[in-house]
């Protein structure tokens, strides 16, 4: 009988490999096994030996029980990858399992919490959304703001706006720098998801990405994969989402009051107020006909001369909007003693990815949880020095437990000897 790993789930291996952007050949090489073996594991023909499992767990940075976990049934809808044309296939491959894990986390949290009701404006169209005109998109963006009771001012926090209205938003890193964001109306729970890529640490860009994805969720909800296949059609729906984002973040009624004649210096000053990039404002001015093509061209020339393409002024100063709902769910579960950190790690074995997907601080789940139960106290011997007179908790070094376990191991070795 061959020695394998009972309950090993090959689908989970494929997910893990894709999430780490590893080709089967590369993983096989790292594990010192053949590519065929990986294929057999993934297709459930064979299961890895325990020593291979240990290596696999290390390389893919996922706990052992992840690979034993049942598959999560996904009914995949169309996923809108931002800048699809420039997004490499490997990036899209990496993104899918991460989105799937996020859905698993959300699914788990639904056991405990009532999620905000989905309150998204729905539009009824008598034609394929691909044929929406720029004017129609402007109108839809305006309706969208009205639907949520917004005036024509600057939206203070777009992430919070969407989370309040039932959209699941995360901000997480991906290995690729080419993708900005992606979104999906999940068929599993009929919930809109927006995945913002945290690699480009820029507040205005992130706001724009979110508005762009909102455009997809509102305009292209009814689109199916079969509705478009040509690159030109992909580009068209991207342009539509761009137009929506512009109209949503910079309503023409109030925006035009600030931009009769925009110069780069004026736009630079107004960036902080409108929380959008200078590039986006130039484009919006052009779209609204405030400036003509020649004027816009001159602005772009100056823009490039100032080297703002790489980094605009204020990019590293404006605060980035952070998703908070999933993070708060985790914090509440722990604070209310409904689940411990260890429970969560055991039930959702996504290692560091879980902290990222839930927008928790790095190391939050692996930190030792402070006991709430009062501990029995030793009597203080007379004349002894009382440490920490202010009554504050003493800080235990992070490696304390590690040291302790090493000592235990050493002791065990000695005993064996």
């Amino acid at each position: 009988m061959k020695l394998g790993t009972p309950n090993f789930n090959g689908e989970r291996l494929r997910e893990a490999r894709e999430a780490r952007c590893l080709k089967a050949t590369v993983l096989a090489e790292k594990l010192g096994i053949s590519k065929q073996a990986i294929s057999q594991y993934e297709n459930g023909i064979q299961t890895p030996k325990p020593e291979v499992m240990v290596r696999m767990s290390e390389i893919l940075n996922l706990p052992f029980n992840f690979f034993l976990r049942e598959s999560y049934p996904i009914e995949e809808n169309i996923i809108f990858f931002r800048s699809l044309s420039s997004t490499t296939k490997i990036t899209r491959v990496e993104a899918r399992p991460k989105l799937k894990w996020l859905k698993e986390i959300v699914d788990y949290l639904r056991n405990f919490f009532v999620f905000p009701e989905i309150n998204m404006p729905s539009i009824t169209l008598d034609k394929n959304p691909i044929y929406l005109t720029a004017e129609e998109i402007e109108q839809i963006a305006t309706q969208c703001r009205k639907y949520w009771g917004l005036g024509n001012g600057v939206i203070s926090d777009t992430v919070l706006l969407l989370e309040n209205n039932g959209v699941i938003v995360t901000r997480s890193e991906l290995s690729s720098m080419k993708m900005d964001a992606f979104s999906e109306w999940s068929l599993n729970d009929n919930t809109p998801y927006v995945f913002l890529i945290a690699n480009k640490n820029c507040a205005v860009r992130s706001r724009y990405d979110l508005a762009h994805e909102l455009g997809h969720l509102v305009l292209h909800k009814s689109i199916r994969k079969t509705d478009f296949s040509l690159k030109s059609e992909f580009n068209l729906i991207e342009e539509q989402a761009d137009r929506f984002a512009g109209a949503f973040l910079l309503p023409s009624e109030t925006f035009t009051l600030d931009f009769s004649i925009p110069t780069l210096d004026v736009l630079r000053m107004l960036k902080e107020k409108w929380k959008t990039s200078i590039a986006m404002m130039i484009k919006r001015c052009e779209n609204l006909g405030i400036i003509d093509k020649n004027y816009a061209k001159n602005l772009w020339i100056s823009y490039y001369r100032r080297d703002w393409r790489k980094k605009e002024p204020l990019d590293d100063i404006l605060p980035i909007e952070q998703p908070r709902f999933i993070r708060r769910c985790f914090e509440t579960l722990i604070k209310e003693n409904v689940q411990t950190k260890n429970d969560l790690i055991a039930r959702l074995p996504f290692a560091n990815d879980m902290e990222q997907l839930a927008c928790l601080p790095k190391g939050y789940l692996s930190e030792q949880q402070v006991e709430k139960e009062p501990m029995p106290q030793f009597r203080t011997p007379p004349n002894s020095v009382i440490p920490n007179k202010q009554g504050k908790a003493s800080i235990i070094p992070l490696n304390y437990h590690k040291v302790q376990s090493e000592q235990v191991n050493l002791l065990a070795e000695k005993v064996e000897i």
Binding site: F113, S156, I261, V266
Partner: protein, 219 residues
Amino acid sequence: MQPSNIQLNELVKDDIPRQFLFEIVVFLFNTYKSAHLYIKSEFGTTDEAKDLLPYFRRARIEQGIRLIAERHAKTNDTIKVRSERNGANNCSHNEIICGRVLITESCVDGPNEMVPYAAFRTTLAKDSQLELALCDNNFDGDFYYGIILHGALNPDTNYPSFVRLAFPNRDCKTYAGFVDLIDFCEFDVSMFSNVSEEVIDDKISEPEFRTDLQKQKEA
């Protein structure tokens, strides 16, 4: 005979597109603010900042008004714009023709303040047929000269306190009348000065437990 402000209002209404004037008013408000912010960012609150502000703002205003006029001229034959040098060739100004009205702009200290002496303005005022035109409905003269007056009553404010189209008399020492452009364009100053922020309430500050779980917890 002096024309009444009602007559001037009619003249403006007939000859100058309202949208054109509206954009100029909006632009003036924007430019006051952006020029103020720009100079502040470059020079702080120094004396040099105070010295430079009116010159910088004037340059922006002249440039911007010309661009607005050029844009309107593309779709409206009655609008023409040209940039003219003064006699000493040390300064330029725009002359915009809208129908029968020829317009320049000036920043002044108060809404009734006379514009400072300039040879070109005196010539334009002298040539203006305003008085004749308004006395005689059949007048077929060349143009009527109007000056867009703007200014901040408090130098620390970063928006204009008034924007009006003033029609000087032929001697250019007094005004025949005014049209308040903020009123004429129904420009909502409060909307401009306070493009409000849409503050999003945090409705998810405390995730709500499911009722079945809540009961379990309470039990």
